[in-house]
C-alpha cells in the first residue's frame, strides 16, 4: 500500500515542471493552502450568512429590544385636587415645599457637604442615618433628600453658603396643606406617603412626593383627588442616566371637590363646643347635605404628611377623649331617650298602638321577676304618646317595646337610618347596632324579654352614631329617606344640589309622623317638657327635639334605693352621655341637628342648650339659602 503510494507519487512527480521536481513539498503545500483558503472563505461566508440572519431576518425583533433598552418611561406626579366648602373656601390645598437635595455626583466630598449642611440646618440622628443609607443605595445621579419643609431663613443660609456646599441643591415639591387645621381634620382627613402595599398596587405611588389619602374625604375620594399621572419618555444609557427627553405628557390634575360643609358654621359650632369631648352634626334635613360635622377634640392633620413624632402619637392615643377618632361616624353611643321617637314610629306603623292609647306609669315596670324603673321615681300616671314623649316616660316605652317586638322595632329603626350604613362619603363608618333575637342567637346567647324592654328606651345593646341620629331626625322631620352626603360638586357647579323629591318616601303614615313630631315639639316648647332650655329665642321660629341621657354603666338597685344617686359625682368615664336631637323650623323643617356630649350627664342640661345654640346659629346663618358665605353670625359677634 505504502509502496504503491510512493511509486505513484514519484511517477506524478516526473510529470511536474523541473522547478516542482526540485521542490517536492511545493505541490502538497499549494493543494493544502488552497484547501485552507476554501475553509477560510467558507467560514467567513458562514459568518456573513449568520450576520444576515441576525440583522435582516430577525432584525425587527432585535430592533424592538433595542428600543426597549434605550427608552425609559417615568411618571409625573399629578397635582392633587383641591377641596373647598359649599361657598368655595379652600379646605385642602397644595403648598409648595422647599427641600434640600444632595446630588452625589456633583461633589467629591459627600460627607463634607452633609456635615457643612448640618451646621446650617440641623439634622437629627434619624435624618443622618437615612441620608447615609440613601447615598449608599442610590445611583450617583439620583438626588437624596437632605431635609424637607425648609423655611425662608434656612434657604437663605443654604444659598449664601452654596460655594461650600457642592452637590447641595434646593428643589421645590408640593405638600398638602389644611388652612383650617384641626377644625376639619376628621371630615377632610389627611394624606400620608404611600406604604409598601400601596406601591405594590400602582407604580404611581412610587413617585416622589406622591401622597395617599388616609382618612376622611381625602381617603374616600382619593381616586378622584389623585388625578391621572403624566409621563415623560426619556432616552437613557446603559446605567440609566437620562440623555434626552423624547416625549412628555402632562397628567390630569385631581378633581376639585366642593363639599356641602359651611366652614363658617363649623367654626361657630366648634367655638360653642369648646374643649368638651363632643360631636355634633348639622344637616339640611330636606336634601341630606351635611352642613357641619364637629368632633372634638381634634388633631393637626398636616403632621401626617411630614411624619408624626412618637411623643405626639402617644399623646393622641392615650387621651381618653380620643382626638383621632371621628366621633360623628366612628363613635357609637347608646341613644338613650332619643331612641323613643323611633320606638313610637315602629309601634304606630305596626298598628299595635294608636297615638291616643294610654298606659299607666307607676314609676316602674315589672317583667317576670325583674323590675325596670322609670326615671321619675313616682311615675307619670296615665300617659298617651304625646305626654310620653314630652315627659320622656320610660314605662310607656317599655310597654310599647314589648307590644311591637324587637324584630319590627329593629326594621323600623333601620328604615329611619339607625344602626345601618349611610350613604355619606366617609371611611371608617361604624354601623352601630339595633339588636334582634336573631343577632343574639348568632352570638350564642338567649334573647330575654328584658332585652326588649331596655331597648325601648335606647339602652342595652342599642348603639348609634351621631350622624345616624341626625339622619334619623331628618327622616322623621321630612318623612323621606334622606341620605347624608358631603360631596356637592366635582370640578364644577357649586350651586347644584340634591332635590328633596329625589329621596323616596319612608312609607310611614303621615298622621303618625305628625304625632311624633308634635311630641318632640312638646319636649321643647310645652310646660313640663324635658327640654325647656332648648326653646329658641328667635321670634316666630320653633324647634322640636328630644333629649337623651345614656347610661354607660348599670345603676345597681342598692345605689338607686339609697337615694343618694347623683351621676354628676361619678368619675368622668362612668357618667352618662348627654344627647339631644332636634329639627327646625317646626312648621317647615329645614335643619336637623344632633349633639352628643360624652359623659355629659343629662341630655336636658348639657346637650339641649348646646343644640339650641347650634340651631340658632344655623338658622341665623341659613347657609342653605345663600349663594356665598354669609357674614358674621350671632356667635361671632358675641
Amino acid at each position: 500500500m505504502k509502496f504503491r503510494g510512493r511509486k505513484k507519487r514519484e511517477k506524478l512527480n516526473r510529470l511536474l515542471p523541473a522547478r516542482e521536481q526540485k521542490d517536492p513539498g511545493k505541490g502538497v503545500f499549494t493543494r493544502r493552502a488552497l484547501l485552507l483558503m476554501a475553509v477560510q472563505t467558507a467560514a467567513l461566508g458562514e459568518l456573513s450568512r449568520r450576520l444576515y440572519d441576525l440583522q435582516v431576518n430577525s432584525g425587527d425583533h432585535f430592533a424592538r429590544l433595542a428600543d426597549k433598552n434605550r427608552t425609559s418611561k417615568r411618571l409625573l406626579a399629578p397635582p392633587r385636587g383641591l377641596i373647598a366648602d359649599r361657598f368655595g373656601t379652600i379646605l385642602a390645598a397644595n403648598k409648595t415645599n422647599w427641600r434640600a437635595l444632595l446630588l452625589s455626583e456633583e461633589t467629591t466630598d459627600v460627607e463634607g457637604s452633609v456635615e457643612r449642611f448640618s451646621q446650617l440646618v440641623p439634622l437629627d440622628e434619624h435624618d443622618r442615618s437615612r441620608i447615609a443609607r440613601e447615598i449608599r443605595h442610590k445611583r450617583k445621579f439620583i438626588p437624596v433628600v437632605l431635609r424637607e419643609f425648609l423655611s425662608w431663613d434656612d434657604m437663605a443660609r443654604i444659598e449664601l453658603n452654596s460655594p461650600s456646599l457642592p452637590g447641595v441643591l434646593i428643589d421645590v415639591g408640593t405638600t398638602r396643606s389644611y388652612p383650617f387645621g384641626e377644625l376639619l381634620a376628621h371630615t377632610i382627613g389627611y394624606v400620608a406617603p404611600p406604604n409598601e402595599q400601596d406601591v405594590a398596587k400602582s407604580a404611581l405611588f412610587a413617585l416622589p412626593g406622591m401622597r395617599i389619602g388616609r382618612a376622611g374625604i381625602e381617603q374616600s375620594q382619593d381616586a378622584m383627588l389623585r388625578g391621572q399621572a403624566g409621563s415623560v419618555e426619556m432616552e437613557v444609557n446603559s446605567v440609566g442616566r437620562v440623555m434626552k427627553e423624547l416625549d412628555r405628557q402632562d397628567g390630569t390634575p385631581g378633581d376639585e371637590l366642593a363639599l356641602t360643609l359651611d366652614v363658617g358654621l363649623q367654626q361657630t359650632i366648634q367655638n360653642r363646643i369648646g374643649d368638651l369631648a363632643a360631636s355634633s352634626v348639622v344637616m339640611d334635613c330636606r336634601n341630606g347635605e351635611v352642613l357641619a360635622m364637629c368632633s372634638t377634640p381634634s388633631f393637626d392633620p398636616s403632621l401626617f404628611d411630614s411624619g408624626v413624632s412618637r411623643s405626639q402619637w402617644i399623646e393622641w392615643t392615650s387621651d381618653q377623649r380620643t382626638p383621632l377618632i371621628d366621633k360623628t361616624v366612628s363613635g357609637v353611643y347608646p341613644p338613650g331617650s332619643t331612641f323613643k321617637p323611633a320606638v313610637a314610629m315602629a309601634a304606630l306603623n305596626a298598628g299595635v298602638i294608636s297615638p291616643a292609647d294610654r298606659f299607666f306609669c307607676p314609676g316602674h315596670f315589672d317583667l317576670g321577676g325583674a323590675r325596670f324603673h322609670c326615671w321619675a321615681k313616682h311615675g307619670h300616671g296615665s300617659v298617651d304618646l304625646h305626654l310620653a314623649l314630652k315627659y320622656s316616660c320610660d314605662v310607656y316605652f317599655y310597654e310599647v317595646a314589648m307590644k311591637v317586638g324587637m324584630d319590627r322595632l329593629a326594621a323600623s329603626a333601620h328604615d329611619l337610618g339607625l344602626g345601618t350604613e349611610l350613604g355619606i362619603e366617609l371611611p371608617h363608618q361604624r354601623l352601630g347596632l339595633i339588636p334582634t333575637p336573631e343577632w343574639r342567637r348568632k352570638h350564642k346567647h338567649h334573647w330575654n324579654g328584658g332585652d326588649t324592654v331596655v331597648s325601648g328606651i335606647g339602652q342595652g345593646f342599642v348603639q348609634v352614631t351621631p350622624l345616624q341620629l341626625a339622619t334619623y331626625t331628618s327622616r322623621i322631620a321630612t318623612g323621606r329617606k334622606v341620605e347624608p352626603h358631603l360631596v356637592r360638586a366635582v370640578n364644577g357647579d357649586i350651586g347644584a344640589q340634591v332635590d328633596p323629591q329625589h329621596w323616596p318616601e319612608l312609607g310611614m303614615d303621615d298622621r303618625y309622623l305628625r304625632a311624633v313630631r308634635e311630641g318632640m315639639f312638646a319636649v321643647v316648647n310645652e310646660s313640663h317638657g324635658t327640654a325647656p332650655k332648648a326653646r329658641l329665642t328667635i321670634p316666630g321660629v320653633e324647634m322640636a327635639g328630644k333629649t337623651g341621657s345614656a347610661q354607660v354603666r348599670r345603676v345597681s338597685r342598692a345605689l338607686r334605693e339609697s337615694g343618694h344617686f347623683n351621676s354628676a359625682t361619678l368619675p368622668w368615664e362612668f357618667r352618662p352621655h348627654a344627647l339631644f336631637i332636634c329639627f327646625a323650623p317646626y312648621d317647615s323643617p329645614r335643619y336637623a341637628v344632633s349633639v352628643v356630649i360624652e359623659h355629659g350627664n343629662a341630655g336636658a342640661d348639657a346637650a339641649a342648650p348646646l343644640a339650641r345654640d347650634i340651631m340658632t346659629d344655623t338658622l341665623l346663618r341659613d347657609p342653605v339659602n345663600h349663594k356665598s358665605a354669609p357674614g358674621q353670625t350671632v356667635a361671632d359677634a358675641e
Binding site: 522547478r19 526540485k22 521542490d23 517536492p24 513539498g25 511545493k26 502538497v28 503545500f29 499549494t30 493544502r32 493552502a33 488552497l34 485552507l36 483558503m37 477560510q40 472563505t41 467560514a43 467567513l44 459568518l47 456573513s48 449568520r50 450576520l51 444576515y52 441576525l54 440583522q55 435582516v56 430577525s58 432584525g59 425583533h61 432585535f62 430592533a63 429590544l65 433595542a66 428600543d67 433598552n69 434605550r70 432616552e235 437613557v236 444609557n237 446603559s238 446605567v239 440623555m243
Partner: protein, 391 residues
C-alpha cells in the same frame, strides 16, 4: 554571501550618503494594493472608533491612528528584511516571547480576571500577541530546514510540537482560552501546510474528544460560565449573558442599512460592553447595517486570501510557511472575534485585527504584515533550497 551582513552595508551606504537604490527598488516591490487594503480597513476602524468615542477622536480614534502610522512604518521596514536575516531572528524572538509569557504569569497586570498585560518601557504590552508572530516565524524557520520528504518521520515533529505546546500552556495558565486556541490553530495549520502526512493527522485527531472532556473539567469557572451562557444566553440576561444579548440586539437593530453613522443607539448609549475593543464590529454593524458588516468581512477575507496567495507564490519553503502562518493567524483573529460578537462561540478577549482599539494587537498584526510583505518582496529568492538538495 552579500545578504549576510545587511546592517553593515546599510551603515556604509549611510556614511557615504548615497541613495540606497537597492532598498528603494525593494520598496517598489511591496504590494501596494495590499497596503491600500490594510489602510482601508484601518480607516474603517478609525471611523468606527470615532463613533465609539461618542463622535470624537478622543479617546479612541486619535491614539489608534497614531499607532497605525507607527505600525505602517514597522510593516514597510520589516518588508525590507531578507529571509536569511529573519531566520536568524527566529530563535531570539521566540525565546523572548516565551520569557515575556513567563514574566506576565509572575507579575502581570490582572485585566478582567486574567493576567494578560505586562509593563515594558512605560507601555502595557500583551505578550501573548507577540508570541503568535514569534511562533509563526519560529515554526517557519524550523520546518524550512526539514525537507518535505522527511516530514513523514514522527520524530522530526516532536520539537516543533513542543514549540507550539509550551506557549499554549503558558497562555492557558494566564488564563486566556481564546488566544491559546488561536496559537494552537496556527501551529496545527503550519504542521498541515508543511506536509505532515495524512495518517499522522488522523492519528493525532483520534484522542481529541477525550482531551476536550478533560480540558472542560479543568476550565476556570468564568470560562465554563461562558460556555453555559453561550448555550443559553437568556438564562442570565444581566450577568454573563449580557454581552451576547446586547451585542445581538445591536446587530439586529442595525438591519440592512444600519441606524446611521453616530446614531447606533446600543453603542452610543453604552449598552454595548467593550464597544471599542472586542465589540467594535457590533458598533459598525449597528450603524452601517448588514451592508457595512459584510463590507468589513469582505475586506478581511481579501486580506486573508491575499496573504495565502502570496504564500503559494513564494518560491522558498520558509517564505511559504511564514506567509501562510501570518495569514492563518489573521484569519483566526477574525474568525474568533466575529463568531464571538455574533454569539456563535463563547466570548473571549480577542479583538478584531486592524479595527479594534488596542496597541499590542495592532502592532502585532502590522508586524505580521511586515513579515508577509518581506515574503512577497523576496518571493523569488532561492533561500533554503540547498537544504533540500542536501537531503
Amino acid at each position: 554571501m552579500d545578504s549576510r551582513m545587511p546592517m553593515r552595508r546599510f551603515r556604509k551606504r549611510l556614511l557615504r550618503a548615497e541613495p540606497n537604490f537597492r532598498t528603494l527598488s525593494k520598496l517598489w516591490q511591496v504590494s501596494w494594493l495590499y497596503i491600500l487594503l490594510i489602510c482601508t480597513l484601518a480607516g474603517i476602524g478609525y471611523i468606527a472608533l470615532y463613533s465609539a468615542g461618542g463622535g470624537s477622536a478622543r479617546p479612541f480614534a486619535g491614539p489608534q491612528a497614531a499607532r497605525f502610522g507607527f505600525g505602517l512604518i514597522l510593516t514597510l521596514t520589516v518588508a525590507m528584511l531578507p529571509p536569511k536575516f529573519l531566520v536568524r531572528l527566529a530563535w531570539p524572538l521566540y525565546l523572548v516571547s516565551l520569557a515575556l509569557l513567563v514574566v506576565v504569569l509572575q507579575m502581570g497586570h490582572v485585566g478582567k480576571g486574567a493576567e494578560r498585560w505586562v509593563m515594558i518601557g512605560g507601555t502595557q504590552v500583551q505578550p501573548s500577541e507577540y508570541a503568535k508572530v514569534a511562533l509563526v516565524l519560529m515554526l517557519a524557520t524550523w520546518f524550512s530546514r526539514i525537507p518535505y520528504s522527511k516530514m513523514g518521520n514522527p520524530l522530526r515533529l516532536i520539537i516543533p510540537a513542543l514549540m507550539v505546546l509550551v506557549p499554549v500552556g503558558l497562555v492557558l495558565k494566564e488564563p486566556n482560552l481564546g488566544t491559546a486556541v488561536i496559537i494552537g490553530g496556527i501551529g496545527a495549520s503550519l504542521f498541515f501546510a508543511a506536509g505532515m502526512r495524512l495518517w499522522q493527522i488522523v492519528l493525532l485527531l483520534l484522542p481529541v474528544p477525550f482531551l476536550l472532556k478533560i480540558a472542560y473539567a479543568h476550565l476556570h469557572d468564568y470560562q465554563r460560565a461562558r460556555i453555559t451562557t453561550f448555550l443559553h444566553p437568556e438564562s442570565d440576561p444581566l450577568g454573563a449573558g449580557y454581552n451576547i444579548i446586547q451585542s445581538k440586539i445591536a446587530l439586529g437593530s442595525g438591519g440592512m442599512w444600519g441606524q446611521g453613522y453616530l446614531h447606533g443607539t446600543q453603542g452610543q448609549l453604552n449598552f454595548l460592553p467593550e464597544k471599542q475593543t472586542d465589540f467594535i464590529f457590533t458598533t459598525i454593524a449597528e450603524e452601517w447595517g448588514y451592508a457595512g458588516g459584510t463590507l468589513v468581512i469582505g475586506l478581511l477575507l481579501l486580506l486573508i486570501l491575499g496573504g495565502m496567495v502570496m504564500a503559494i507564490r513564494s518560491r522558498n519553503r520558509f517564505g511559504r510557511l511564514l506567509a501562510l502562518g501570518i495569514s492563518v493567524n489573521f484569519f483566526l483573529y477574525c474568525l474568533v472575534n466575529l463568531s464571538m460578537v455574533m454569539g456563535a462561540i463563547p466570548v473571549g478577549g480577542v479583538p478584531l485585527p486592524l479595527v479594534s482599539y488596542g496597541g499590542s494587537a495592532l502592532i502585532n498584526v502590522m508586524l505580521g504584515f511586515g513579515l508577509l510583505m518581506s515574503v512577497w518582496v523576496h518571493r523569488n529568492s532561492r533561500f533554503g533550497e540547498e537544504d533540500e538538495e542536501e537531503a
